[in-house]
């Protein structure tokens, strides 16, 4: 059985103006659909990556996986337990300790007034667990020194802080870690260190990662399976080799074409048309149709369903 199973996951946000403005300006309520009908499974001890540009809903999905947001409709099941609808408190409690999260900004996600020791052991201490020597052990596992436990976050660089965040995520011995852009605030050489650390820990602890990123190269390096999101919809899902070498969806093709390449000296890339549409009024049919070079009439009226083509899942009428 898959560790995570996501079914028809949808989340809308109310972005209406205040009541009085709506009355005076005669506006309707406005809803932004951040995530729309997303389905995927994540197998245990693999890395599943969600990629997409800003506004594609990748962070919203991540937050729903850990329970920071509740889905508007659809289900997230982790180890067969649906956190939103489960009533057995013991079961929820048990599952929650299996899930941890690493955030993008290591400057904002550590409390500046707490010592590193307290930060790292909090997930255990909050449940009344034994924390003796735990912070020191974890600090060494993430490549810092046990002596760092008594310091404050401001004494560390960005890469070191991200290591502290990883140590904190590991302290409750989770099975699943949701990593929301874990390296996008870091320099390339520090990114390499953190990504290598994440790979090592995954092997040592048998972790499952959901990796959220906008960086295709990071995703290609880390992931076992990649889901590409566009405007809150999953458009393509495949293993890295298939996604990069045998791309099915026109949006993924556009994204790969646009990404800068190390060997692209003086390359005149085929430029993407237009920009991401307004998520409050998404296009009808396939969300990508206004920018798609292949779009036909059907794409404007009918929303494509996820189809299996070989090992790839793709939501496009024309893909084959």
């Amino acid at each position: 059985m898959s560790l995570i199973s996501v079914r028809h996951l949808t989340r809308t946000f109310d972005v209406s103006k205040p009541w009085l403005n709506r009355v005076i300006e005669r506006r309707k309520k406005a809803f932004l659909t951040a995530v729309s009908e997303v389905d995927f499974n994540v197998e245990a001890q693999t890395t599943y990556a969600l990629v997409g540009e800003s506004g594609s809903g990748k962070s919203t999905i991540g937050r729903m996986l850990v329970g920071l947001l509740t889905p508007t409709s659809g289900d997230v099941e982790i180890n067969g337990v649906n956190l939103a609808s489960e009533t057995d408190a013991a079961k929820i409690d048990h599952i929650r300790s299996d899930i941890q999260m690493i955030f993008q900004d290591p400057f904002a996600s550590l409390n500046p007034r707490w010592r590193v020791r307290d930060i790292i052991v909090e997930p255990v201490a909050a449940r009344g667990g034994d924390t003796t020597g735990l912070a020191e052990k974890l600090l060494e596992q993430v490549g810092l020194s046990a002596l760092d436990a008594g310091k404050f976050p401001h004494e560390f660089s960005g890469g070191q802080r991200q290591r502290i965040c990883i140590a904190r995520a590991l302290s409750s011995e989770p099975k699943l870690i949701v990593c929301d852009e874990p390296t996008s605030a870091l320099d390339v050489s520090v990114q390499a260190q953190v990504l290598n650390l994440m790979s090592d820990l995954k092997d040592n602890f048998g972790l499952t990662y959901v990796l959220i990123s906008h960086d295709l190269t990071v995703v290609r390096h880390m992931a076992d399976r990649i889901g590409v999101l566009y405007l809150g919809r999953l458009v393509e899902e495949a293993a890295p080799e298939d996604l990069f070498n045998n791309t099915k969806h026109p949006y993924t093709q556009m994204l790969l074409e646009a990404a800068p390449r190390m060997d692209g000296f003086g390359r005149e890339a085929k430029l993407p048309e237009g920009e991401i549409p307004d998520p409050i009024n998404p296009p009808s049919g396939c969300a990508f149709n206004p920018r798609c070079p292949l779009a036909v009439e059907r794409c404007r009226t009918e929303r494509p369903k996820m189809r299996d083509i070989g090992n790839t899942r793709v939501a496009c009428h024309l893909a084959e």
């Binding site: 320099d187 260190q193 990504l195 646009a258 800068p260 190390m262 060997d263 692209g264 890339a269």
Partner: protein, 324 residues
Amino acid sequence: MSDPVLSIRNLCVEIPTRAGIVRPVDSVSYDIAAGEILGVVGESGAGKSMAGNAVIGLLNPPARIASGEIWLNGKRIDTLKGDAMRRLCGKHIGMVFQDPLTSLNPLLSIGDQLTETMLTHLDISREDARKRAIAALEEVGIPGAAERIDSYPHEFSGGMRQRVVIALALCAEPSLVIADEPTTALDVSVQAQIIALLKRLCRNRGTAVMLITHDMGVIAEAADRVAVMYAGRLAELGSVRDVLTAPRHPYTHGLMASTPLASAGQPRLHQIEGAMPRLTAIPEGCPFNPRCERAADKCRQAPAPRIVDGQAACWFPRVAEEAS
């Protein structure tokens, strides 16, 4: 080669602090020719933006140019002060910053901002300036420029805003554009559009560009030559193809190898151990020596050699066959 548009000679920037004087930019020299794009890469704290700000006179006190010379079109500009500097730089240097929202005035329409810039630096009438503003917006690819010229910055998306900033930087027809991380805040697909735009406009007009970025991929696609900076010093300078495919400096090599792109198919990424030194504690000799696998005694004692184009500031540079 004709005379360079911008020529920096042994530029040093100093900041006096309580812990002593630190040098975020130390003995940096490079030239940019007309129509050429020089990529300046480095990690955060490498001094790449500081060098750019020094050129345009935007150093925040107490940071100051301690020594060195900056020449623009054969005129020395680092000694200019106040008004003279402002007039010269406003006309001859355009600037594109990372965040398009903070580099536009939210209270003025984009048309006002463009015409104001042109009226200050060019000898033209208000009507002409408006016409040229519309033409400039069309050139950077803003649809319906004539209708949108009276819009305010918040009415544009991030990518469109960066286009406006580029129009603004180019409207006084400068001979040098300094683009400091112009696409870092943008999505991949928009980034490709902006880079292509910058490339096209500068080629067509023969504008020299200093493209400051941390993204090696952007450098590879846009730049003609590249300057790699480390701890305030130039590590390597050369044509983009040479530096990226056969890096001579161990730092450049490590940087290239640690990008996930370069190590496709390998289970682990190449790692440069340690981190960039703090400015208050730059090691003796070559600043990279504690992290360098090739470091010898000489690297710990003698400062790395001064370099010209096509060289690396290293006592034991990698040779071509080793790099490939």
